[in-house]
């Protein structure tokens, strides 16, 4: 009987070193020879260096004698000579080696025992090779406590096909233990000869026995990214597997089905886009598409590749939609698109619903808590995703897009129409106000205690004119749970050295009370250490004064609205209301996050463009005496942050704020952080320092409660990073610490799967939840149904729905019906979809506008004009002023169903009601005009708005520019472009390439060299030149018979690579010179 056996994957030592985890030394211990043999072979397959023994005692002896000979131990739990746990304990005591336990017994108790004894992992028999391919991570974890880039490299290594090296395959033969490898190959020869002799014919004759076994590639996140990047680079029509493979440049990667599937999916999206357009009844797909999407539509045409064009628009829409709390513009579009491509669609309605439910009066605290949690997740996601987006996005966001979205957001919270106007005003002052509220914190704690309400807001003011990017900000101080007294008065250091001036502005509460705070910025830095105020304000700027008049109050919360469902005097209800509020707010962001998620998934741009997204969290304990009892007070944290519209340094600002807060927290070790504080802190860390730091922080948390509380934000990090592997590992880890009983983490991971198109896994998660009696909430069901639609078919969707109906824990609301409607629409059953929407209508209550707007967009997507009109009229029953965003939604929907007249009428009623002139509302109409080719009408509207004192944003100029290009009024187009650019010089917005090329083409055709020259010069300033533009320029010279001057130099100066055609053009142009 063999006691110890050693085999290794044969890899030259040198290679082994740089190809971690190849050659990792594993000691496998199991008394069961069958298991051991399989395990050994599996490990060898992973190219580890394997030593096996069937006795724990021998294993221990070996380990003691040669401490440095092993990197990892895998041990069975039940062994006759020594219990696996004992071995585990001894190894843990004597040497610092990761030990993985292995057992057929998966009872929680046993697993827990393994973990408490120090096992780094607990695998169940039968072990799968995929599990073993990952075990090297435990070694890394041990070795590098601080995670750095190296990990990534390792990670990539790990994903290499284990058999990539054919040497290795043969190595098995030579290196294998003699009794095994020798014999089998001989045997095989015998078979061969037998076969030959007898001339037997088999079913097997297809197989070439000598063909080496194909190495397998695990489709990792990394590969996926590469793949997506490659597809993007090529553009969807050119993305043939071969080219993709070339671009990806991954060894041993072949054209697997996966790619094809993925491509199919992509092209489905692309074609869907077109078909939607067509479905929308446009003569010109381009136009209609745009019309459909509203303002953002324009953005969609920025990029030439279908895929990429998709992305920006989706993203764009998202922030916007949200605010309206009904994602009107974006939603229908993206929805229909999504319908085809995946279950993403679901997410909006779902989330919304989820939240919506929460805000309903009848709901219990628990629900509220849930909703909050979910919504939190969304929020973060959204932000994260946005961050990941590229310039396109940032363009939008940093421009009005951002403020739009944000203000919308605010509105949806406050249900007051004023904010946009506020915005407009600010714009005038060259300040864009960007209110960002952020609720932070989640977790069951909320549900249980219902004590914590956190809403973060940060007030910042930045003057655009100031040369200093961060001229200042005022931040709410962190109120820390349980320690809301003086400790909290702290100083946040100045973030920008050069900007001294800061004066405390009125604190928020005062502002609220007085319904109008005046913030002034003055000279020297002044810290308002008044603890009672609980604020720190950093004013900044060059004597800029910003006043908020009474109207500010309007733009805040409309107490009636939110509180209507809740008796305001009760504490509990206060909390509930808060949740409701945050939900509402989050709703908005959740839409975008979902859309964003998938957009990114497909268009992946990993650039980490910074979005100005400010966030500070402050926690308010509801028991806090400082907490105003009056709900309306509570609800009106002033959500104003202003920053220069041009400031892309906003992120820097945010970061510095958070850093200051963090370092302040560090320097005040004297007060104890509660679990929720840890949670918030982890969020902040993740935001500012990245996930790895957050992981580090998480690892250092000592108490289980803290870990539990902090786990959600960390999971969230993984989800936002779309790191499936980490999220799954983490989830498994969480489960070992005790199953999360709330559905949020599960929802989170399902969202991740949806975002990564792994719908089957969603089904598995649902199954898992069922098995473990984890309650599912509305969101879970909605995701589930979408996944069903994606994976199987209507029947499974219906059975999921049935299950939902039978689940007492959830109330089927409009979001679910909207989800169903989308699914039916996807399956082409419009009548059923409409029926669902009808039912959804019955579920609406007049406490919020979100549902109305949402269903309205669904009707719009189904091209049901009556439905749109009905919902719009019905939504007027919701008390309170109608926010501008809702007007916009209605207009977009009406335009989409082809009723521009009614849209104009709606615009008129908005104008009549509003005191300010939010250019975004008129942009909707402007876009519709332009897309219909009514440039005169568009110009008239534009002038009208100018007269009214509205301030065009870059979008306005972009729309007009497009209109002028269409009508061949190139001078005006160039002017519009210049105005757009001058508005946002330092920002990332850039005019769409198509338009630029169209203009250049026009000049070329006209042979107007001067114009073309001037045009190029303008573009040069903004680094917008490109090869096609230069070609047009040359063409203009050629057409005008003029010899160009130093164009090659200009091209070189702009660092543009020449191609053949260009060379020929230059020759052609200079030939004229010769002749």
């Amino acid at each position: 009987m063999r006691a110890v056996e050693e085999r290794k994957g044969v890899v030259p030592a040198a290679r082994r070193r740089d190809q971690f985890p190849v050659g990792m030394r594993v000691l496998a211990v199991d008394d069961d020879p069958v298991c051991l043999k399989v395990l050994e072979t599996l490990l060898l397959r992973c190219q580890y260096h394997v030593t096996t023994t069937n006795q724990a005692a021998i294993a221990l002896k070996m380990l003691r004698e040669n401490r440095d000979m092993f990197d990892l131990v895998i041990s069975d739990v039940h062994m006759p000579d020594m219990d696996g746990f004992k071995l585990l304990e001894l190894v843990g005591l004597e040497m610092d080696l990761p030990v993985i336990m292995l057992s057929v017994n998966g009872e929680t108790k046993t697993v827990l025992k393994g973990i408490t004894h120090g096992a780094c992992d607990y695998l169940l028999k039968p072990v799968r090779i995929e599990e073993l391919r990952n075990i090297w991570q435990h070694v890394i974890r041990r070795k590098f406590s601080t995670r750095d880039r190296a990990n990534l490299d390792f990670y990539e290594e790990c994903n290499k096909p284990p058999n990539a090296d054919s040497d290795h395959v043969h190595g098995h033969v030579t290196c294998g233990s003699p009794d095994q490898s020798g014999r089998p190959s001989k045997k095989r020869k015998e078979y061969c000869s037998e076969e030959e002799d007898e001339g037997e014919v088999n079913t097997q004759d297809i197989d070439d026995p000598s063909a080496p076994k194909k190495p397998r590639v695990v489709w990792s996140v990394e590969l996926h990214r590469k793949f997506v990047a490659a597809v993007n680079q090529l553009g969807i029509d050119k993305a043939v597997p071969k080219r993709i493979l070339e671009l990806m440049n991954v060894e041993k990667l072949t054209r697997e089905n996966k790619y094809r599937l993925y491509l199919k999916r992509l092209s489905a999206v692309a074609s869907q886009q077109v078909s939607i357009v067509a479905a929308l009844g446009g003569r010109d797909p381009f136009l209609h598409m745009g019309g459909f999407e509203g303002l953002q539509g324009y953005q969609a045409f920025n990029s030439s590749a279908a895929l990429s064009s998709f992305t920006p628009h989706g993203l764009l829409n998202s922030p916007r939609n949200n605010p309206a709390a009904l994602g009107t513009q974006g939603v229908p579009a993206s929805k229909s698109i999504q319908t085809m491509s995946g279950s993403h669609t679901l997410s909006h309605p779902i989330n919304d619903a989820n939240k919506y439910h929460l805000s309903l009066p009848g709901n219990q605290k628990g629900n509220l808590g849930q909703g909050l949690a979910t919504s939190l997740g969304h929020t973060q996601m959204q932000q994260k995703w946005i961050h990941e987006e590229t310039d396109d996005l940032s363009t939008i966001l940093s421009g009005n897009g951002l403020s739009n979205g944000m203000s919308g957001t605010l509105q949806s919270v406050s249900s007051s129409p004023l904010l946009p106007q506020e915005l407009a005003e600010c714009t005038q002052a060259k300040i864009v106000s960007q209110p960002s509220i952020r609720t932070s914190s989640v977790s069951s704690e909320h549900i249980e205690g219902a004590v914590r309400v956190s809403s973060g807001l940060l007030e910042s003011r930045v003057s655009q004119q100031s040369t200093i990017p961060l001229s200042g900000f005022s931040a709410n101080e962190l109120l820390i749970h349980g320690s809301f007294n003086n400790t909290c008065a702290n100083k946040l250091g100045g973030t920008s050295s050069s900007c001294a001036p800061a004066r405390s502005s009125n604190d928020l509460m005062v502002a609220r009370d007085t319904k109008g705070g005046a913030s002034s910025f003055g000279g020297a830095m002044l810290l308002p250490p008044d603890t009672e105020q609980k604020y720190l304000n950093f004013g900044g700027g060059n004597g800029l004064k910003q006043k908020f008049d009474d109207r500010t109050a309007d733009s805040l919360f409309d107490p009636k609205f939110v509180w209507s469902s809740v008796p305001s005097s009760q504490l509990a209800s206060n909390i509930g209301a808060h949740h409701a509020m945050s939900q509402r707010w989050n709703n908005s962001s959740s839409n975008s996050s979902n859309i964003g998620a998938r957009m990114i998934g497909q268009a992946t741009s990993s650039g980490s463009t910074v979005i100005p997204q400010m966030k500070t969290d402050f926690l308010v304990s509801s028991g806090d005496m400082l907490m105003p009892k009056n709900t309306s007070d509570l609800s009106i944290p002033k959500l104003q942050s202003e920053l220069s519209s041009s400031s892309c340094s906003f992120d820097g600002l945010l970061n510095s704020i958070v850093k200051v807060i963090l370092s302040w927290m560090d320097s005040h070790n004297d007060f104890r952080l509660s679990p929720s504080d840890h949670m918030v802190r982890l969020e902040l860390i993740a935001k500012v320092h990245g996930t790895s730091q957050a992981e580090e922080y998480y690892r250092k948390l000592s108490t289980a409660a803290s870990k539990k509380a902090a786990s959600f934000p960390l999971l969230h990090c993984y989800v936002t990073e779309r790191n499936v592997q980490k999220a799954e590992t983490f989830m498994a880890e969480l489960q070992r610490y005790g199953l999360p009983v709330d559905p949020h983490s599960f929802n989170e991971i399902m969202k991740l799967y949806v975002a990564t198109c792994q719908y089957e896994k969603v089904l598995s998660v649902i199954y898992l939840m069922k098995r473990n009696n984890i309650p599912r909430n509305v969101l879970s069901y909605n995701i589930w149904m979408n996944a069903c639609a994606e994976v199987s078919g209507l029947a499974s969707v219906q059975s999921a729905f049935k299950e939902m109906l039978n689940d007492d824990m959830v109330e089927v609301g409009w979001s679910t019906y909207c989800t169903l409607a989308n699914i039916f629409k996807k399956y082409g059953q419009s009548s059923k979809a409409l029926a669902c929407l009808r039912t959804a209508e019955t579920k609406l209550s007049s406490t919020g506008r979100l549902g109305y707007s949402f269903i309205m967009t669904c009707y719009a997507a189904l091209n049901d004009r009556d439905g749109v009109i009905r919902l719009w009229e019905a939504s007027k029953s919701v008390p309170g002023r109608i926010p501008a965003a809702n007007y916009m939604t209605a207009m977009v929907c009406l335009i989409k169903v082809g009723d521009i007249g009614r849209a104009e009428w709606t615009f008129g009623s908005w104008e009549a009601e509003s005191k300010k002139h939010d250019v975004r509302v008129s942009n909707v109409l402007l876009g519709a005009y332009v897309r219909n080719g009514w440039i005169e009408k568009a110009e008239r509207l534009h002038l009208h708005m100018l007269e009214k004192g509205a301030h065009p944003n870059y979008k306005t100029w972009e729309i007009l520019m497009e209109g002028f290009v269409q009508s061949k009024q190139m001078d005006k187009a160039v002017n519009a472009m210049k105005k757009g650019l001058s508005l946002l010089k330092t920002c990332h917005w850039r005019p769409p390439l198509e338009l630029l090329e169209a203009i250049a083409k026009y000049f070329e055709e006209q042979g107007s060299v001067e114009d073309a020259d001037r045009f190029i010069k303008v573009l040069q300033k903004f680094n917008l030149t490109s090869l096609p533009l230069y070609k047009s320029l040359l063409g203009a010279y050629i057409n005008a018979d003029i010899v160009p001057q130093n164009i090659p130099q200009m091209i070189a100066g702009d660092q543009i690579d020449m191609d053949e055609e260009m060379d020929q053009l230059i020759i052609r142009a200079s030939k004229i010179d010769i002749t």
Binding site: C35, G106, L123, E130, S181, P184, P212, W219, T729, R771
Partner: protein, 178 residues
């Protein structure tokens, strides 16, 4: 959906399964077509074995062309021993359920390693009877284990026989390109 077939899995396995199952080629083959080159073997595999067996077969390669058969014969050799132990334990230590269970756990481990799903399921029910301290159930279940074991042995023997006739590469190694 296939997840239903995994009802025996506990949470952790489930996660692992989630993690890996979809990516596993043997899973794909298992889920889509069955592994066999012939209807008979296919049917038999689906009935008596699970995807772990596919994994074991997947482990065969140039260097190890008969890995599956070797493991299987090792399994039968070892499981016969373990079953003898169980038999003796049932006789010698009546109602010593912990002891029975420990033995059976070992058998179950072996079964799961080669993917002998039916025997494994029977082992599980044996262990459940142990948990209920139901000696009679245990004895009955053990008889079933033996029966399943014998059936599987016979089936696998003919399966490998068939493979051998089919040729050196057999189904054992996954046909390239699939």
């Amino acid at each position: 959906m296939t997840y239903c077939s995994h009802s025996m899995m506990c949470v952790e396995t489930m996660w692992k399964w989630l993690h890996h199952a979809m990516a596993s080629p043997s899973y794909v083959i298992y889920a889509t077509a069955g592994v066999g080159f012939d209807a008979r073997t296919k049917e038999f595999k689906v009935d008596y074995l699970d995807e772990q067996f596919c994994q074991v077969e997947d482990l065969q390669d140039e260097a190890n062309p008969n890995f599956a058969e070797e493991v299987v014969s090792l399994f039968f050799k070892d499981s016969a021993r373990v079953m003898l132990n169980i038999e003796q334990a049932i006789e010698k230590y009546p109602k010593d359920f912990a002891r029975w269970d420990a033995h059976m756990q070992q058998l179950k481990g072996s079964c799961s390693s080669i993917g002998a799903s039916r025997v494994k399921n029977e082992c599980t029910s044996f262990r459940n009877f142990c948990g209920e301290e139901n000696a009679e159930g245990c004895t009955r279940s053990f008889q079933k284990v033996k029966r399943e074991h014998a059936v599987l042995r016979q089936k696998l023997e003919s399966y490998f026989q068939l493979l051998r006739q089919a040729g050196p590469s057999g189904t054992a190694t996954r046909p390239a390109g699939k």
